[in-house]
Amino acid sequence: MSVHDFWTPFALEPFLNALIVGLSIASIWLVAALGLTIIYGTMGVINMAHGEFIMLGAYSTYVLQSYLGFPFLLCLPAAFFIVAGFGWVIEKVLIRHLYQRPLDTLLATWGVSLVLIQGVRLVFGGEPQYVGVPTWLDSAMQIGFINLAWLRVFIIVVSGLMVLLTWWILFRTVTGVRIRAVMQNKEMAASFGINANQVYSITFAYGAGVAGVAGALFGAFKSLFPDMGSGYIVEAFLVVVVGGGQLIGSVFSAGLMGEMGSVFSYFTNDTFARFVLFTLIVVFLRFRPQGLISEAMTRR
């Protein structure tokens, strides 16, 4: 491994292509982190089982498709509701009792993730499973020198739509007003007659459901393993933390991290890029622990 192999010189077209790939990576991280952002931003809960919610979304897509013959597009909303149901139950049974001990939610949800991984492995086996995609998603888009699989374009579009939907719910509906009120000050919101516990249930279920959609998307371009979720969890957390737990913050941080990661790995290689990116993030958080965007810091 000499220095010349390690360091790729700059060339315009491959570099622009790296930027496009960066956009695709950013959309994947964003869609993985979206549910986490909502849960962390609203409740301050660090949900380590988030990756397993993604995995459940992928497996429910697989089951719906292989056994019940659902078309792929219908699997996305179906995965949302299935995983949201899971999240709702877990919130009721476990998370609810740990709100006073945030670090312990981190640990308890880690236990949940172990149980989910092994449970799925017992049911479906450890060997990889596959989700089929419609033929129109199977080819690659070719515009000039830019070459991108349609599936990746589709993920970019869906992640954008989900951000818009979440934004709409948070800022244009009564439920959203309640969620934001609880987010800012739980006690004050409760004294105005908002049922904070119910808001937490809904938020957690919604966050889990979004992870389910992410899983359905990821299942389409990667094979399914019971422990596939652990591959997303660290990146998803970093997106949320760098973004400051805000919806907009996560959009920016996912974009920034995806592009930086892609550009670094263009110049060096994937793993070294990862090392540099993670180290940069740690240094960034040292100087700005509140993240890129922080609204009134009433909760923390």
Binding site: M1, L94, D104, N269, T279
Partner: protein, 367 residues
């Protein structure tokens, strides 16, 4: 304050440590070399649980990056042992480097020709890293879940480095030194009683030193910071300094564990830097009781013992068992097994007068 509970009696605590360690020291007379090696491994893992108990239970810093110190030290030890096997004249380069097209020993590896320097580096590099990393975090007053996420990210970064730097670390395959560690004229065969005693001695050293530290004024300040960092800062203490010291101490302990681990297994691979492994350490400490060094130690022995023996029988459900156990402990037993013992001993009436001597001892009083 439950001043009548013998659990909080300092003399009783030291006596129990004495009994446990002396008892463990006699193990080699009862069990076969294979089981002995298993127990040596548990002793190393117990050091990791103790390091977690120290930094998290007493320091209030949830570090998910203990594997960084463990892994770095393990690589340092692996390199030292590998170089003991190499010969400067006839065989100067480890064979995996040749297959990775390296024609001479990389500079990173050169200091490891010397066993003492290698050991020193294996201990110093992780500790210094923890000092720098800790200073970075705690001076910025990063706390709580953010520390957990940052240590996790750093761990993931090191994992990918160990995995990717194939010419230097042998990547996924890892380094497996062919011969046992040889130092001061002793060959530390992984299955011999000597090696077991070394591991046990290091565990005893780590536990007892930690206990002394926690009983000192420093230990009290550390626990005060855990309970309310803002107040301690207000009283005038440099909170970041204390946090960096306790964080680095836990890193140093994990580094000792890393060195001993390689001595016992003659194998290093990126698995040691996996996220799952570092979180497993937290599980052991939590199950045993994060507020008790002895508890954390017992937790490590118990969980790993179960994994070796019950795990074989219930291989497919082991993760279900450990995950479920962990959920139950966090939900219902935040103080772990040690908390149970504490409650149980609370019902034991103390006949002796020893109770007045410790009524003013808050060192072990939890929260």
């Amino acid at each position: 304050m439950e001043s009548q509970n013998i659990y909080h009696n300092k003399t009783a605590q030291w006596l129990s440590y004495l009994v446990v360690f002396v008892g463990l020291a006699f193990l080699p007379t009862f069990i076969d070399p294979f089981t002995l090696n298993q127990f040596s491994r548990y002793a190393v893992l117990a050091m990791l649980a103790v390091s977690v108990s120290l930094v998290w239970g007493f320091g209030g810093i949830l570090s998910l990056g203990q594997g960084i110190a463990f892994g770095l030290a393990a690589y340092g030890m692996g390199m030292t042992m590998q170089m003991q096997f190499q010969d400067p004249e006839s065989n100067p380069i480890p064979s995996f480097m040749l297959t990775n097209e390296l024609s001479e020993l990389p500079g990173l590896w050169v200091p490891f020709w010397n066993t003492e320097v290698g050991l020193l580096l294996a201990l110093a590099v992780p500790t210094v890293f923890f000092v720098i990393f800790g200073a970075l975090m705690f001076q910025a007053r990063v706390a709580g879940a953010f520390v957990a996420i940052m240590t996790l990210a750093m761990l993931a970064a090191w994992y990918s480095m160990a995995y990717d730097m194939q010419p230097f670390t042998a990547g996924f395959n890892g380094i497996s030194p062919p011969l046992p560690f040889d130092w001061l004229g002793v060959s530390f065969d992984p299955y011999s009683p000597i090696t077991y005693w070394v591991a046990l001695g290091l565990l005893a050293f780590v536990v007892l030193a930690s206990k002394l530290v926690l009983q000192s004024k420093f230990g009290l300040i550390i626990q005060a910071i855990r309970d309310d960092a803002e107040r301690v800062r207000f009283v005038g203490y440099n909170v970041a300094f204390y946090q960096v010291v306790i964080f680095a101490m836990s890193g140093f302990i994990a580094a000792i564990a890393g060195i001993t681990w390689v001595m016992l297994t003659q194998y290093v691979s990126p698995v040691l830097l996996e996220v799952q492994f570092s979180i497993a350490m937290v599980i052991w400490a939590a199950v045993g009781g994060r507020l008790s060094l002895m508890g954390a130690m017992i937790g490590a022995f118990l969980v790993n013992g179960m994994q070796s023996y019950v795990g074989d029988a219930f291989q497919s459900t082991w993760l279900l068992i450990i995950g479920g156990l962990f959920i139950l402990v966090v939900r219902f037993l935040p103080k772990g097994i040690a908390g149970l013992i504490e409650t149980g001993l609370g019902y034991v009436p103390i006949g002796r007068r020893r109770s007045d001597s410790m009524s003013s001892n808050p060192a072990r009083a939890a929260e």
